[in-house]
């Protein structure tokens, strides 16, 4: 029953989490805070806060609470035993969290995969690869469900049959961004949507840096896929470092502005993640499942002709336009006399065989080529 009053208290964004906690300690229960008079409240709150606190009582909050229950959203205040252990000791811990779906299991390792919204094809591939392989090994993948790396990593995890958790900067009943609707639905079923904001809260810009502390807080390890120098991703990294979490980084080319943030972190001494297997080993897990997949992939290359293999060796994960590919052919011993139509034919054959993706006049590898 006390939860209901804690819910009421959590709705006030103008009262800090620390203050709410202090009040809870002093009053002993959320209900007594709710019933406290102006005088008692004035010990902790200023007059503006008191005014909004008292005025809120008549604004139909109980109805909101009922709605929340009907939507299967759970509210877990910090003193609840279900409150995630990982969040209990972080700086500015949420007074309570809202969950649609469920929380990450305490005994399972968890990794936060975060990165740029407008990621490159390289980032796309890496995010999906790590997301799926880590999840397949039984790790909870945590992210911000944003466009780009966040969403892709979560999708990868769900596709691999694993668990993914999205921490939002809005109410858990708000799907933001709207384009991630299917991911939002799927995550609820197979993992959970988590937020410290009461249901119905709009995705305001100021919420996002704050929710990052929950992302890093819930994770044992934070993995940065792609980040520019000035980005929200690096804010999360700062939070993670303050919380004492390990940060791993996917290295990138020094000329890519999308990798500048990552490479900078390496310079500062963050861990380097070269492949999911290595990361799994560092987490003390056995990465034996993925080894078999590697062999299976190599078997597939046997069906390809020499020209096709050479063509694959010229492509990269990044999408390249046909003229750029033609340029590369000139320096290849086997393919230097290939005409444009021949090149197109070989590429289309590789698309059909499932090795290459084709977006417009751009071609790129679906998976890194090693032969």
């Amino acid at each position: 029953m006390d939860e209901k009053y804690a819910f009421y208290l959590s709705g006030f964004e103008n009262i800090t989490n620390r203050k709410k906690e202090e009040m809870f300690q002093a009053f002993g229960s959320a209900m007594s805070i709710y019933n406290a008079g102006e005088k008692k409240l004035s010990i902790f709150l200023n007059s503006a806060q008191i005014d909004s606190f008292l005025a809120g009582k008549n604004a139909g909050w109980e109805k909101k609470y009922e709605n929340m229950m009907n939507q299967n959203i759970r509210f877990i205040p910090f003193y609840d035993k279900e409150y995630p252990y990982r969040l209990r000791h972080i700086e500015d811990k949420p007074f309570g969290i809202f969950v649609k779906g469920r929380l990450p299991r305490e005994h399972k390792k968890s990794v936060a995969i975060i990165g740029a919204r407008d990621c490159s094809e390289y980032g796309r591939f890496v995010a999906e690869d790590f997301g799926s392989k880590l999840a397949a090994a039984g790790i909870s993948v945590i992210s911000g469900m944003a466009r780009g790396v966040d969403g892709i990593a979560m999708r990868g995890a769900l596709k691999a049959g694993g668990e993914a958790f999205g921490v939002l900067g809005c109410g858990v009943d708000v799907c933001y961004p709207g384009s991630n609707r299917s991911l939002y639905e799927e995550t609820q079923r197979r993992g959970g949507i988590i937020s410290e904001y009461i249901p119905g809260t709009a995705p305001l810009a100021l919420h996002f840096p704050k929710r990052n502390r929950i992302i890093s807080g819930l994770a044992d390890v934070v993995l940065v896929v792609e980040a520019r120098v000035k980005s929200g991703t690096l804010i999360t990294v700062d939070m993670a470092l303050e919380q004492g979490k390990d940060v791993y980084v996917i290295p990138g080319r020094i000329t890519d502005s999308l990798s500048e943030g990552c490479n900078g972190l390496i310079l500062q001494g963050c861990g380097v993640a070269l492949n999911p297997e290595q990361l799994l080993r560092d987490l003390g897990m056995d990465p034996n499942n993925s080894g078999n997949q590697q062999n299976a992939k190599e078997g597939n290359y046997k069906q390809l002709s020499l020209e096709q293999l050479e063509m694959l060796s010229l492509l990269s994960l990044d999408l390249q336009a046909l003229p750029q590919i033609m340029d590369k052919l000139k320096d290849n011993t086997y393919l230097k006399n290939f005409t444009l139509p021949q090149t197109m034919e070989t590429l289309i054959e590789l698309v059909i065989a499932g090795f290459v993706k084709n977006e417009g006049s751009y071609f790129g590898l679906l998976q890194p080529f090693s032969h």
Binding site: C119, S257, M326, E345, I348, N358, G360, S361
Partner: protein, 513 residues
Amino acid sequence: MFSAVYSGGIFGMQAYKVRVEVDISPGLPNFEMVGSLGSEVKEAKERVVVALRNAGITIPVAKITLNLSPARIRKDGTGYDLPIATAILGCMHYFEPKDFEDTAFIGELSLNGEIRGVNGCLPMVLALKEEGIRTVCVPEDNARECLLVPDIKIVSFRYLQEFLNFLCDKAGGIQKYRSMGTDYHDLEPKSVTEDFSDVYGQEHMKRAVMVAAAGFHHILFSGPPGAGKTMIAKRIPGIMPSLQKEEQLEVLSIYSIAGKLDQQMFSVNRPFLSPHHTISPQALAGGGRIPKPGLLSLAHKGVLYLDEMPEFASNVLEVLRQPMEDKKVEIARSYGIYKYPADFMLVCSLNPCPCGYFPDRNRCRCTESEIKRYIGKLSGPILDRIDIGVEASNIHIRDLAKEGVCLSTAEMKSRVEKARKLQKMRYEKSHYSFNAGVHARDVEKYCILGKKEKDFLEKIYEKNKLSVRSYHKIIKLARTIADLEEEEEIRAVHLAEAVSYNNGKNYFLKEGQ
């Protein structure tokens, strides 16, 4: 006293013979004109009376009745001034009517007796020739276009006085003036200063352009600013085969009706029109109280280039849909439907995102939703009608430096012409002229695929989740590519190239993530 002479009228692209009948009979002085006349035609009486008086001829004070037959068709334009004056002079016995039974007159009069040019002279002369007219008197301004019509005598005048001498000079005058008409002459190719050899690199685009020109396929360029999209588009008319005689006359007729015939147009080169993106739907399709041909029709048999396509208003782009399907524009007015041909090759270009550098993420900072919004301005139905999509990538500095290896306009043109010749032979017994125009039901008849090719295409069909329309488009495109290679059979390599072009355009239809 009655007299009648012939003139020409025009409704849309349709020209017809008009009989101008005048009767001068005793009665209260009056000048009555009948025959569904537009306001310019009604004003003719003032111009004619004054011009004749200034030429020294006074019209008798009597009841004058004038009829333009056939009376059921609406008549517009100022070309009836000269025939009206002539018919009046006929009533006044200035000439022998039977000398001019196979002659027609076209021209506008000014008050001081000048004969001014009119719009649509060329199609009128063409129609009059079919109607059995042997000689046409035209304003000197229109002489050049009219001289293109074979087997008809053109006599041109600048002043009414000159014309009167021609009419009245009984002592062999007719013969003298008639011989003045220069004989019909052919158009020459205009020397083109823009050559494909100026375009370094971009061999991929050049090839695509060649395929497009060979099969009359619509094409879409995308790429960063400054990659040479406009440069290439401008050179496309240069590689298309010269206009055939009939095509020339059709194209020039449209320009004549639009009043846009200038020296530039007198060549066998195909038109190239590149409207600014602020153009209105009416300017594009044609319009006005008396509808004039729009840019779609002016680009007939040539190239319509829409640069920065997403910047065009969507209602303007939607106008393209019907003409791209029917190859003509129809504009309805209460007194009839104006039809103008519009069989153009659509070339359009766009940047892949608002800043232009996508997918180069080092330069492009556009968000996915910005890109979607930008590309989303193109409607699916228009993209669906485009066959080829190619990417203009930034040119490598290496390509700028190398010389002598890139294709020139002359080379490309000769290959396109060969491909067109093959198509002409293939479609001899049908109403088609190009691969692009073949209807889905005839694709299997004209574009035969072997077993291996069919399997190949089937795999692509499943892999790319193609629509049936795209499936046929790819086959037709592959047919053009095979024609360009002068090969009898469509091979897998041709299909692969066609698929690649088709995908190039689908890029823009793709949903993000």
